[in-house]
Symmetry: C2
Subunit: 191 residues, 2 copies
Amino acid sequence: MRVPTRREDALPALAEAFREHGFEGASVATLSKATGLGKGSLYNFFPGGKTEMMDAVLADIDGWFVTAIFAPLERAGDPTAAIRAMMADVTVYFRSGGRTCLVGSIGLGGSGDAFASRTRGYFTRWISALAGCLDAGGVPAPLAVPLAEEVVSGIQGAIVLAHALSDQAAFVRILRRQEAMLLATLASHVR
Amino acid sequence: MRVPTRREDALPALAEAFREHGFEGASVATLSKATGLGKGSLYNFFPGGKTEMMDAVLADIDGWFVTAIFAPLERAGDPTAAIRAMMADVTVYFRSGGRTCLVGSIGLGGSGDAFASRTRGYFTRWISALAGCLDAGGVPAPLAVPLAEEVVSGIQGAIVLAHALSDQAAFVRILRRQEAMLLATLASHVR
DNA sequence: GTCTATAAAGCGATAGAC
DNA sequence: GTCTATCGCTTTATAGAC
């Protein structure tokens, strides 16, 4: 969509601008250019200014993850297939590490406190969804939870490293190792 | 030191301010307060302004890691002890995930391009130092390199997760698992 | 609902007194 | 070498024309 006419249509462009410049680094002028909307229109859509824009972007991202990643894990008809799908979808979403995780970087940076509940919800749900999927596959919870925690954390680390080294192959290598470990753990706990 | 009189004495306070507010988010006024130095003194020490301050901070951090982390790994008299020491030192340095990795977050954020060579050097040397240590312990390079890559990446992920969840215990759990995996790999390749 | 013009504040950076 | 005062510019946010 060239020039958004609805608030939600502006979110992807806003997200990319925030990814590229960070929350403090992205000025309203930058966001105006990125969306094609004038400042007045932006403030019409987001009366709360930049903070509301970022909050809406994070909510949008969270919504996407819920439907595309978390819910399938929680259904968990076939845990092995669900984990394979998660890894594949995550690789596409983060463009093999070429794309930053806005939730993770906001959680790291200084502006994180304003969005702390969002980042917290995102990671806790991801970990519990993955742990639940492992549990459904026969992995006992005391093992499944730290394993899920390690993998979700590992994905964030892969993004940091791939971005720092401009090495998307590293991202793919790390996720492959994580996937292999998850599948091996599942295989050793077949009911 | 209450009020720094030498350029290098200002670096720790600058580093903490950059960690807390990010590069764009930390204004010169912020940095002046953080260091106790007036703007004039800051610009006297760092004529290049904020960019030079951040660059000096990153160089200082890199120097600390070289002497405290990388060099011991590269000496590698006792690989097992060296890896234990690395994990212990890293846990202290990052305060169990309560302290952010400035190199990693700068590498993620928008201002990363200006400091790309520093972040790249930091991670490549860490990975090669750790891989060399594993190699010295008998782990063949084709296995040691991706393993080192995974662990260095995993530490970054643990920082992201611990910070997002305000859960330092998660940081410790993840690093313990990484350490156990490294030591197990070493043990299975005793010469 | 969209834009331009503008207000008020804060920014990085500099000049000059001491 | 340190500070305060100040410059010029950009920032967020608003007001008002259309």
